[in-house]
Amino acid sequence: METTSSAFKENATRALHDAALQRALENVPRGFIQKRLLARDRLPEFEALREQARAIKDHTLAHLDLYLERYEAKVKASGGHVHFAADGEEAKRIIIAIARRLGARSVTKGKSMVGEEIELNEALLAAGIQPVETDLGEYIIQLRGEHPSHIIAPAVHLTRDQVEADFRQAHAHLPRERNLDEAAKLVHEARLVLREKFIAADMGITGANFLVAETGTSIIVTNEGNGDLTQILPKAHLVLTTIDKLVPTLEDVATLLRLLARSATGQEMSCYTTFSTGPRRPGDPDGPQEYHVILLDNGRSAMLGTPFQPMLRCIRCGACLNHCPVYQAVGGHAYGWVYPGPMGAVLTPSLVGLDKAGQLPNASTFCGRCEEVCPMKIPLPGMMRHWREREFERHLQPAAARYGLKLWAFLAERPALYRLVARLGNRALRLWSRGKPRMSTLPLAGGWTRFRDFPTPEARTFMDQWQDRRPNG
């Protein structure tokens, strides 16, 4: 999808003034944070599992070439096919070629962030193939022509009223006077409408939460069961996924599964965890006749051996989004690309380039909650800081910010001068405040005072007070 990450500030301002969005965003902390906390506390081993999970992924990434070799061999041995794709264009070409060979006209899709990343739906439509999103949240945003605002809850930015209006418009064949005043009725209607699509589909495309080298298996984790109907009913099951989803063994998957649902939704386990290995076997009465894995790189291999390699540990649980004060305030669309929140602020510059996404690593208060809740212990603030350094090195910031930082660095390296300037600044601010505790205007700081007051500093600077309090004065 088109990147608008460079307009984060403008996007965020618009989001803060969007009343419906702000109402919907109240559901984020309410829906996720408390549930995760309870789930974590119910499992005494949770912290120890995080440490092991980190080690599993670090080990896999360090031996990624070898595990990929084994994974590929196992998929082939089970009768499946592996297609390698360096970027989104190659992946789309492969998928459309398979669809054409099968004569596919309708394709059902399980939720896939990688599909969003490469704009698969647009490519399918252009090739005359109808993609049908089957995850309820994805279905809703497909009807609206939007993109997901959250990696596990794509429609979290919408209210029930908005969904009702969308359904009335899209399902015009249903009686106009039908009652849709509860979420349950909307869910039921989507079930009936999509059931026909599942049965009519020629091909099903899912993503993967994990790939297992030991068995050549792809795994999806869902609550609705849509990913299962997507893969067991049509002639072919296509798995669109990326190289960072690999783990060595089934035991390693078990460890990661114990963290994924708890961190994401606060469930012990999601309803459906499905292990898929190859196509239908002799004697099987159901299942796909063809099984294809499209294994995409799209910039990930370039992260190996860099300070951003730990980002490839991410299992896409969304906990960092849910706990981020910036995400909670502006929602996912403001981030301007597929991956929002702290994980997006680290991943997006890696995948689309710092010049397009340089503002995202700045969209953080560095409160550190994201790293605290990350099941894979990814040092998200540290990596955002890396990006900020690179942004500075590459002169991508506005001139005022660059010179301001340079001036500050000059002073910070000269403590006596720093203290003198601080004292002078302190005095000037107190003079300007005319004895009031807060200032509503401040020269050169309109960007601050337009939205909130500036507090008047105390009479003496921190360093001066510190000197007084030290026991040896």
Partner: protein, 231 residues
């Protein structure tokens, strides 16, 4: 470019990033050992209980995710329990199941004469399916179902009501226990086409984060635990 070339490019990029050639014997040995040993990581203590406590935990966890549970003393009691359940839920007296031997050999005609049975994979018109779970995991109340003619995967997802039979002896502590059993049955490094872990009936929270059951899969998941025979 052919697929093969894409493959070569990808592997060379990965090896370049990692600073390796791919030929290092030490790296190959580490990977080989990890795959052949498939050692367990930390397994939570929660499910590691003696048989009856393990079954009780499985039941509690499954009910905690909105499954309903009944217990049969012996397999022969299953048909009557299913007939009772269908009546209570006002469901049609027609079920479909696969070729599973335990299910096929039950005294249906003698103990549940009203229940009509169909066999094979699920059809879109089916309202109730019955499958036999290969295992239950006490830790999270999760059922394990394996694809094949005995228990076709469509039975787990198409009908609105899914009834799953699990034997007490098949209720294990952890997912790791399941993997060991499957390695025993299918061979190391082998899985059936589909292995479903099912934890409660289908649900969604996609509209305002409110839990609604029956999104695309079954609205009702009814589990029958067969307590005998004890080993």
């Amino acid at each position: 470019m052919a697929d093969l070339d894409h493959r070569a490019v990808l592997f060379s990029r990965i090896r370049q990033g990692l600073g390796v050639s791919g030929e290092e014997p030490a790296r190959r040995r580490v990977v080989e050992e990890r795959l052949s040993q498939h050692s367990r990581n930390l397994v939570p203590r929660r499910g590691q209980l003696e048989r009856s406590a393990r079954i009780a935990l499985f039941r509690t966890m499954a009910e905690g995710v909105h499954a309903t549970v009944a217990e049969a003393d012996k397999p022969a009691d299953i048909p009557a329990l299913i007939a009772d359940y269908l009546r209570q839920q006002n469901l049609p007296s027609r079920i479909r199941h696969g070729n599973d031997r335990l299910l096929s050999e039950l005294p249906w005609r003698e103990t549940a004469p009203t229940v009509e049975r169909l066999s094979g994979r699920a059809e879109p018109t089916d309202e109730v399916s019955v499958s036999r779970a290969a295992a239950g995991v006490a830790e999270s109340g999760t059922l394990i179902l394996l694809s094949g003619p005995d228990n076709p995967t469509t039975l787990n997802f198409l009908p609105e009501t899914h009834i799953a039979v699990v034997q007490g002896n098949d209720i294990v502590a952890s997912y790791e226990d399941v993997f060991d059993r499957i390695r025993g049955a299918y061979g190391t490094g082998q899985l059936p086409r589909t292995l479903n872990m099912i934890t409660g009936p289908s649900r969604t929270g996609d509209i305002e984060q409110r839990l609604e059951l029956g999104a695309h899969g079954p609205k009702r998941l009814h589990i029958i635990i067969v307590k005998s025979p004890e080993r």
